[in-house]
Structure formats: C-alpha cells, structure tokens
Symmetry: C2
Amino acid sequence: MRAALDAAAAAAAEGEVPVGAAVVFGGEIIATAANAPRGLHDPTAHAEMLAIRRAAEAIGDDRLSDCDLWVTLEPCAMCAGAIAHARIARLYYGASDPKGGAVEHGPMLFAQPTVHHRPEVYGGIGESEAAGLLRDFFLSRR
Amino acid sequence: MRAALDAAAAAAAEGEVPVGAAVVFGGEIIATAANAPRGLHDPTAHAEMLAIRRAAEAIGDDRLSDCDLWVTLEPCAMCAGAIAHARIARLYYGASDPKGGAVEHGPMLFAQPTVHHRPEVYGGIGESEAAGLLRDFFLSRR
C-alpha cells in the first residue's frame, strides 16, 4: 500500500484526484499507477485500470489470476468490473467511497449474482492517509 | 451501427468474442474498435473501452459529452462505468446480455442512485445480426 499511497500523492501533484494503485505478483510489485484521466485525456485512466493494464502487459496475459491489487480508494463500477475481468485474487483498498464506490456501496458489484469473479476483499488498509490525501486535494481546490 | 457490426466481425476473425463499437460526434464516426482483450493482453480492452479511449484522444478531452456510443452488445459493468465517466450522451446497443450485461441486467448501473451520469439508452439496434455473430462464434468454439 506504500507504493499506492505514493502514486496517489504523485497524482495530486499533477492536479489529478489523488488515487494510486499497485499490482503485486509473487511478493513483488509488478505495476504501479497514479490516477490520470485529465492528463491522459482518457476517462478510463483510473489508477486501478492503468495498474491492471500495465501488469497484464508485463505478464503477457489478460488474466491476473495470481495477482493482488492494492488501491487507495474503494473502486468504482468501472474498476470493479475490470478487477473481475482480470481475475484479481485479492483486493486491498484504503478509503471508502460512499459516492462513487461500487464494492461496499452503490451497485456492490462483487455481491451481484451475475459477477463472474469475486476477489477476496480487504478494505480500510492505510485508510487515514488515503482519505487525508483526498481531503487535502479537494480543500485546496475550493 | 454498421461500423460497430463490421468491427465485431473483425474481432471474430481474430479469435476474440465478436463485439464492436463506434463513437459518433457531430454526425461523424470519430472512433471504432473491436473487442481485443486476448490479443492485446489487456482485460480492459472491450470494444466500448477502446472506442471511448480513441475518441477521447481524438477530441483531446476526457469527457465525450456530445458523443454517442454504438455497440453491438449490452455493456458490462466496466464499460457502463466508463460510459458514465465519459459523459456519453446516448448509448445505442444491439444484443441483450443477461449473463454479463449491466444496463438492463445485473447491477443495472444507470438505474443506481449513485451513478453520476445517465446516458439516454436505446437497446435492440441491429440485434439479430449482433446476436448472430456471437452465436456463430461460440458454436464454432465448441
């Protein structure tokens, strides 16, 4: 989660909503990413999406069955869907997101009967630092 | 929808599940894409995602507020989430997807109270050809 939090701080420095992610395989970080939809002109460029895409490219497979994803914020529906498609084994996330989250809020995607893969889910990891980055970012933008 | 159906047929020729998409802006097609997760080693590389990313790159903005998305299959949760993030104005799709769809099935994403954008939605456009491509593909793989 340290790598994900550092990526979140880097996103803030670029004027992006501070969310960061990392993919771990065999005890090693194989991909990290900072949220970057504005900078990349890409509405799909959430930290989780970029980290999953980089990890899949590194492994050379569209499935990350033995990989874990660490992300500083509860994933949205798009990212939760990508996590299911990628067959991520374990999801660790930091802050909860009552507005945009789709794991413990809103559509609660992994609880849907039609979801084709459910990772193990662990929330609240590094939550205070992850939430603090987001709070500071939005306060500075007012 | 003709361009999306042609992209779906191209996906099948590459051994990918035949789904195609196109983004229209100002009456012109600005991006088309064929489903390509296997070939690209990218679990996020659904036709809708690739078409949205290409359109956003073409426009130079992460929002596609005045764009319409045409896709041959009901979008999944990942793609429906991306459609909301991209602020797509109108969504036209072909075949329904009771197993993986997230528009009229499963999480019914655009009906969720927490969704931050709801496109106008029109299903069943070119449905028989879109469904036929999928049926032929899966029959040939048995």
